[in-house]
């Protein structure tokens, strides 16, 4: 594993003060100045009597200070970005010894980790350490501090000629889908190959008809789909009576002739959704993930792209559409001309149906935590809330940055990759105008063989993965080492 980082603007964080209470603030340092204090509400803060002094001191019970610290952190996160919550907390903990004691409350850190970093389970020894981990990892996305992880293929695996077309990340795994209908699973932290799943059913409707078009990792299972419409499932940690690649169970038999090409596949715990092209009126198919029964067919999103959809079976072309699913079961899907949104439990009703005067870049649609990003052909990137399409942030890419553009996002950041230049950029989307944090050159094997021509990119809160048409896969690890 090699380490590299790029130069960028950096911000210091007083987060270290959260690990041990500051020793520089002692009771004698707190100056007691009688009379009105420096506040906007001077008329409300006359000097208290001794009885009021006692009452005010009685207010600061531990649950009250915890609630106050929580609100302060959430406010700071909301108005100034998640990284600012730590410095706001540090101020609270330095007010007095009573307030400082609250920094030892693991319940406080659990609440803050859930609210600010959207993490509901603990991997570190304490919730405070968990909070610090996610804070520092998020900060690494703004400073560019990362390590390169090289996926280690099985020695007997003849993968060199294979092109990876599809990537998915979980907290622990990287799953890569290839044009031959195989999915390889790697350990996200070490890059070690874990297993290969293969699918070997169905007729060939072209050299790329078995190409993987989507992978979903949920809890202990891995589900993947092919362009020909087959959907396969396997347990990630299931029994392995025979070493070697694992034949995945075919859950859904594809029907290319009648359904068209399964351009993209996505899902959540409860549903799977396929975006099809090739037959008018059948853009979306939805299955119940538990019963594997199809529950919906319909939609006209890809009607104009029918012919192009069929080409995906025989040529290595960009997908004609993209579909993404949120945790709250909202679907956002787009082609070059349209973007739609609906709920998986009520797919007949489009909640939004919008076009673009210049056209959407299909490879730029991505979702994270009920927020989605899409870039139009004029270079304008927009981040919106899925529920009400309220605009959260906006950024503009230069014309040269749009060549071979890949876009993905995680909590708080949009990541863009320009294959034309081999440069990866991280955008902080907290403000209405997104802020470019860093630019990283993604080099192939040390930087001497030229930049990486990406065809797929995915990100989560710790990693960014890029696959390319030259069979390489690059995994950037921004997590705290």
């Amino acid at each position: 594993m090699s380490s590299s980082s790029s130069s960028s603007s950096s911000s210091s964080s007083p987060l270290s003060s959260l690990q041990q209470p500051s020793s520089s603030i002692t009771p004698s340092n707190v100056v007691d100045i009688p009379g009105p204090s420096n506040t906007n509400n001077d008329d409300e803060f006359e000097a208290p009597s001794s009885s009021r002094q006692r009452a005010m001191n009685e207010v600061w019970l531990e649950p009250v200070v915890e609630a106050l610290a929580t609100q302060v952190a959430i406010d700071a996160s909301h108005y100034h970005g998640r990284l600012s919550a730590a410095s706001a907390l540090a101020i609270i903990f330095q007010v007095c010894s009573t307030w400082r004691e609250v920094s030892r409350s693991d319940l406080l850190w659990q609440r803050l980790t859930r609210r600010i970093w959207r993490r509901t389970y603990r991997l570190r020894d304490t919730w405070q350490l968990e909070y610090i981990y996610w804070h520092r990892t998020a900060r690494n996305f703004t400073t560019g501090r990362h390590a390169l992880v090289v996926p280690q293929y099985d020695p007997g695996d003849h993968h060199q000629a294979l092109i990876c077309r599809c990537l998915t990340l979980s907290d622990t795994h990287l799953a890569c889908g290839f044009v031959d209908g195989t999915v390889r699973l790697f350990n996200l932290n070490t890059g070690a190959h874990i297993t290969t799943f293969w699918s070997n059913h169905g007729h060939l409707f072209g050299p790329f008809s078995q190409s993987i078009s989507g992978i979903v990792i949920t809890n202990s299972s891995l589900v993947f789909a092919r362009l020909d419409g087959d959907i396969y499932m396997s347990l990630i940690n299931g029994p392995r009576p025979i070493p070697g690649p694992i034949p995945a169970r075919r859950a859904i038999i594809g029907d290319v002739v009648n359904n068209g090409v399964l351009v993209e596949f996505a899902g959540c715990n409860r549903f799977w959704i396929g975006l099809f092209a090739g037959h008018a009126g059948g853009a979306f198919q939805i299955w119940d993930a538990q019963t594997e029964q199809r529950i919906f067919v319909g939609g006209s999103l890809t009607d104009p792209e029918s012919v192009q959809g069929w080409h995906m079976l025989t040529e290595l072309v960009e997908p004609v559409g993209r579909v993404r699913v949120t945790e709250r079961e909202f679907v956002v899907a787009c082609t070059t001309s349209r973007l739609v949104c609906f709920n998986l439990r009520n797919p007949e009703i489009l909640l939004r149906d919008m076009g673009s005067t210049t056209g959407f870049m299909v490879s730029s649609l991505d979702i994270s935590h009920e927020v989605f990003v899409v870039v139009e052909r004029n270079g304008v990137g927009t981040v919106r809330r899925v529920g009400n399409f309220e605009r959260v942030s906006r950024f503009r890419l230069r014309g040269s940055w749009l060549r071979g553009l890949l876009v993905c996002m995680n909590l708080g950041y949009v990541i863009t990759y320009s294959s034309g230049s081999g440069l990866l950029r991280v955008w902080d989307i907290h403000e209405p105008t997104a802020r470019l944090c860093i630019t990283i050159a993604v080099r192939d094997d040390g930087g001497e063989q030229g930049h990486v021509h990406g065809n797929s990119m995915v990100a989560n809160q710790t990693h960014v993965a890029i696959s390319s048409n030259d069979s390489s896969i690059h995994l950037l690890d921004f997590s705290v080492q």
Binding site: P27, S37, F45, L61, T98
Partner: protein, 116 residues
């Protein structure tokens, strides 16, 4: 909405319950707490209107605010505690630790106990 009241109702036998003691809550503050609970249990207001109402409810003198904090904590009404703590958080926004201590006239607990 109050876990304290709920626990009292659930633990005291039904035929013995005539009143629930809330000795730490002054009557005028209890009136405001009841007003808050009634409003939040009512289905008549939209979420947006309720948020506006909350802003007005919490726009009170700081002494009342602190009484509401103590009462919400004692009665275990988390949403009210979050609301009034949010108001206090607004008051201290942008202030240094020293300015916050001065604003609330906080003497460090150990110093206060030594003096008294």
């Amino acid at each position: 909405m109050s876990k304290t009241v709920k626990d009292a109702i659930e633990t005291i036998p039904t035929d013995e319950i005539n009143s629930i003691s809330l000795s730490l809550v002054r009557s005028e503050i209890l009136t405001k707490v009841i007003e808050y609970c009634k409003k939040h249990n009512s289905a008549q207001m939209s979420d947006v209107d309720l948020m506006d109402w909350d802003v007005e409810f919490a726009n009170v003198h700081y002494t009342t605010l602190f009484d509401l904090v103590l009462s919400a904590n004692y009665m275990n009404i988390n949403c009210l505690l979050d609301l009034v703590c949010g108001k206090i958080a607004d008051m201290i926004k942008g202030k240094t630790p020293g300015e916050i201590a001065k604003l609330f006239d906080i003497k460090d607990v150990s110093t206060y106990e030594e003096d008294n």
